[in-house]
């Protein structure tokens, strides 16, 4: 029988809540209270406390799940990299959108040869109107994580049109990105939804990727993910939950050599694109 993997939860967030309330063993994953007995850590802390917790877990050799942004500047990321190298741990990508059922399926479809080269990518994240942090701090990290999961290319330019449209804080940003292979990415991030759309307190995510031979559409109104083919047919496969997907990634990572780009690689890329957007 395969040995269990003990997972510690640090902080309070959506993923931890989903795991705590699951109420049953999750594959090989067993939740533990004592982080010293864990081999993996899920960190959902606010930003000032996040980096030290990530560093401690990596130094202990843990596999670490941490929602983006893992760090806010190059110095923090360098410290995380040093901890990963020294402790033997591994930071995994933990963007929620990329691990949603639709996000995972969309990424798989985009990576398939039948999709053809990516031509354009559009991601909109809309939240209900109301007070909140700057959208570049609240909505951009998740959007960027999905962009970087989909596109391995280098980003060469970023331009932004952002404003406070519905309140005192910057609540809307339209961002245009371009890669060295001339893929154009459009990000529309806004706290613009009236209370009745789509359901009280909820937000919306919409992703449209155009390939040379297929298009992927992920949208609340589409149900989940839709694949549109050149022959005019469309499919909408059934899918499962994001938290379980992250745990499967964690299970897969435990005891196996790293093959895909690590969370650290994605974090470095995210920091670079974030810098392009903010003009740093």
């Amino acid at each position: 029988m395969t040995a269990p993997i003990h997972l510690a939860l640090i902080g309070h967030g959506k993923l931890g809540l989903a795991l705590r309330t699951h109420g049953a063993p999750l594959g090989r994953i067993r939740l533990v209270q004592d982080r010293h007995k864990a081999q993996a850590t899920l960190i959902e802390l606010p930003q000032p406390e996040r980096v030290p917790a990530v560093i401690t877990a990596l130094q202990a050799g843990h596999i670490v799940l941490c929602p983006p942004p893992v760090a806010l500047d190059a110095a923090e990321l360098a410290a995380i990299e040093q901890a990963q190298n020294a402790g033997g741990g591994r930071l995994l990508p933990a963007g929620e959108i990329a691990h949603t059922p639709a996000g995972r399926r969309g990424l798989a479809e985009m990576a398939a040869p039948a999709f053809g080269p990516l031509r354009s990518l559009y991601i909109a994240i809309r939240q209900p109107r109301g007070p909140g942090p700057d959208v570049l701090d609240s909505l951009l990290p998740e959007a960027l994580d999905m962009v970087l999961a989909a596109i391995p290319d280098t980003f060469t330019s970023a331009r932004i049109n952002a404003a406070s449209l519905f309140g005192p804080e910057r609540d809307t940003a339209i961002i245009l990105l371009r890669t060295d292979s001339d893929i154009v990415v459009t990000l529309e991030l806004s706290r613009c939804l009236p209370p009745t759309l789509p359901a009280p307190g909820l937000g919306e995510i919409e992703i449209d990727a155009m390939g040379a031979h297929q298009a992927i559409r992920i949208a609340a109104s589409a149900g989940a993910v839709s694949v549109y083919r050149d022959d005019g047919t469309t499919t909408h496969p059934w899918l499962d939950s994001p938290a379980l997907a992250m745990l499967r990634a964690l299970e897969h990572a435990h005891g196996t050599p790293q093959t895909a780009p690590s969370g650290l690689t994605r974090a470095f890329r995210a920091l670079a694109v974030d810098g392009l957007i903010r003009g740093k």
């Binding site: 031509r119 354009s120 559009y122 909109a124 330019s157 331009r159 932004i160 049109n161 404003a163 449209l165 519905f166 809307t172 339209i174 245009l176 371009r178 001339d182 154009v184 459009t186 529309e188 806004s190 613009c192 939804l193 009236p194 759309l197 449209d208 155009m210 040379a212 031979h213 297929q214 298009a215 559409r217 949208a219 109104s221 589409a222 149900g223 839709s226 549109y228 083919r229 050149d230 022959d231 005019g232 047919t233 469309t234 499919t235 909408h236 496969p237 059934w238």
Partner: protein, 347 residues
Amino acid sequence: MPARVGLGLIGCGGIARSAHLPAMAQLADHVELLATADPNADAAAAAASGWGAAAFTDYRAVLEHPGVAAVVIASPEYAHPGQVEAAAAAGKHVLCEKPIARTLQEADRMIAACARAGVHLLIGHSRRHTRRYHEVRAAIDRGDIGTVRLFRENERRPRGHPQIWWTPAHWTGNPQISGGAPMMNAIHETDLMRWFIGAEASSVTAEINVTIEGNVGVTDFISLTVAFANGAIGSAEVLNCAPPGYPAFHQMELYGTEGAIRARDHDITGLTRFKDSGADVPGHYDMLLHNLPAYARQLWELVDAIRHNRPLRMPPSEARAALAIALAAVRSAQIGETVMLSDGGVA
């Protein structure tokens, strides 16, 4: 019943066949097509045949027809300035396809020529005449969603729609004469965002691209965002490379201080089978709002303005403003910077 308004048709290609000629047929009690012109004699003859109209290869022959009171110009944009100015000089009212022209200087000349001649110049921003957007504008006017703060639209057209577009075999695919997606498609979005937001654009940021296989260099993709003088934002992503059956052809959304309006094709499109293994759409079963009534209403706007000697609801300066935003978007993409607008043009 008042006498029918005599019409001429200049340019007898796809948009004339699919939209303007059917619109004339719908208004057959009010208009009469007397003359057509197209460099392709067969196209001119085919357009004329249903009406028993005269057919020419030179548009100037249409302008010389004594019974023609107004001309519908359905030619590519590079031909608009010369044809509109000639029509004005001949004392003919004009309904001219969008975009008004390729440059603001050309647009100014056309507007001035029609003003001098005392004839109407209606630019065919057909979406303003759809019932869908009439209702949207009325809702804004009623204050249903408060002040509009964010306009967004995706226009995602299928590849090969029509089959020949964006190929060197058609003028839309000729980089020497085609303005590409910014002029063909996005001119609608730049017009609508300005109309619905109700303010002038102050700056434009955009990216353009060539995405369709076989396209020899005409822009077929544009993503643009506009800052308006009242603080509102508009954005539009326009592409022409979607596979057949892709449902989100047009999705326009407005977010206001007190609500939102959504007008999205995919909300009314498609036939879906739900099975244990998932759902599938066995083909493309179109329920998009048909645009033909919009072209009839557009033509009626000109006919009614002629008959009652009243101003057009959409003066040509509105089309010029939409062009200014589209041109600024192209410029922004070319130089990689945000372009400021001032006094109706690039600052």
